[in-house]
Assembly symmetry: C2
Homo-oligomer: 302 residues x 2
Amino acid sequence: MELYHLRTFVTVAEEGHLTRASERLFTSQPAVSAHIKALEEELGVPLFDRTPRGMQLTAAGKQLLTGARQTLAAASAFQQQARGLQDELIGTVRIGLNTDARFLRLIALQSAVAEAHPQVSLELMAGYTGANLPALRAGKLDASFISGEMDDPAIRSWILCEEELAVAAPTAWRERLAAPDVPMLAEQPWVFTTEDCSHYGVMRALFESHCCSPRKAVLAHQEDALAAMVEGGIGLGIMRLDVVEAGEREGRLHRVPMPLPSVSLRIACLAQREGDPLIQAVLGSLGQVWGVDIVERSAASA
Amino acid sequence: MELYHLRTFVTVAEEGHLTRASERLFTSQPAVSAHIKALEEELGVPLFDRTPRGMQLTAAGKQLLTGARQTLAAASAFQQQARGLQDELIGTVRIGLNTDARFLRLIALQSAVAEAHPQVSLELMAGYTGANLPALRAGKLDASFISGEMDDPAIRSWILCEEELAVAAPTAWRERLAAPDVPMLAEQPWVFTTEDCSHYGVMRALFESHCCSPRKAVLAHQEDALAAMVEGGIGLGIMRLDVVEAGEREGRLHRVPMPLPSVSLRIACLAQREGDPLIQAVLGSLGQVWGVDIVERSAASA
DNA sequence: GAGGCGCCATCAGGATTTCCGATGGCCCGC
DNA sequence: GCGGGCCATCGGAAATCCTGATGGCGCCTC
């Protein structure tokens, strides 16, 4: 039995599905199947029941899951402690993005990290808030930008800034939306985001406070797609104020005069990895880039 | 990084020597060297200083040793918990011996284990008390017969019986040793055992109580060798009473009339493995074979 | 009832990793 | 200066792991 068996066990347990687990583990479905088979044979215990709908933990599998996680956690803590002992920090930090690189000041971040820790590299992975959180939890990301509230105790986050939001409309709708009220906006078609996006929550809150619901014309997973839909006249959408203003200046969008609350842009990581020197390195550089006091863990964990 | 890297790390740390570590790990010296190299590269931390006399832990290596042991302990506990969940116990138990198979009732033990746990096999490894304890600590043995006192808290042991001991002499020395006192015995040549053998302690205690020391004619590592030396007229030796009496009946030995304290024959295992179902299986069978109440761990650990 | 889809297990072949025997380099002791 | 002990490296072999393809089974829909 090796650690990769345990990683596979835990991932399959969480996904309940070999193919999805293989994607998370960056390997193939037959490889994952073989890992589980080998582990079950070595332990002499069936860990999963195979069903047409996927893999279901057996009672024994459920009981063993905690021990598997503890073993992986101990190994992770060992590696983390080793990083704290490196003469010079070495490693790669995978960061999930949720909006455009310029807004996230990624060039400045890259420079700050490269200067402070020459042997640390960043791996920037496109995504959105709703995808980044599960990826964080799954260990696929080391840190991630997210927007909105965060109340999961397993996730630690720090506010970088407040994102001002605005309602964007196609320029052709300028006159009929000169002074709209909320019910009127609800009558318009909307470009939705996924429900796990903070912008969706803001939109929902807007209409719920006036007891009405917006009409969904289309759903866009990415901000670029949403912007394209709005510019193309498909419907209204919620976007960052600076993006809407830039679009308005360039004649591509119209900013609807409707005040919206802001959402917090945050950087997040797993609480248990907060003390990891690699995470600390990135948090330190982010604090520097955004002029924010990101409270660092004491060196006691080192 | 996988568990075998950590096992190698810990073993090399304990041995301070790649070749000895490779023997304990049942692999080759180049393989062990490669494990350490790979681990150091992955962690970005030198774990050992290479010296002409062997491998010496660096400061970082010393700090990381605990974490490595914890990870291995967690993995071991996981496997142990899995064994407790097996429908039928499966596995191999490596038992260190320290005297002859007949005295240790190994045939009865084998039968008892086979009956109670058909899929558990025993692997009986010749040895002696002094070799068995380090082998236990090193994970090379799962359980071990040992003789004498045991005060290491990391080792758990149960008394099976008291070994009566006697002083054996060559038959030709019968008359001159008809009624010897201790100083007289000290004047004779002796066949020593290794210092980590319980018989050695008994011999030492005998003479120290009379402020004298025995003369060492030869040192024998194994009981067979010691018996051969005594029978061959090389010197006196301490042996089990039943063996001396059998030798006397067969005209091969003379029992010197000198009372000795007995030593306890014990079965031992690592304290942390006491709850292991495989260990429990063997302890249960030993209790049955020796008619001894070996207090078993509650099922709470299962 | 049949066909298609989803899911896991297996297979054969290729790729990668690991191991091993041989050997070299360095240091130390005689 | 030489021999021995110890670790690192090398080349080749062995073992392990992965992958694409495919099959079997169950379920769902038509």
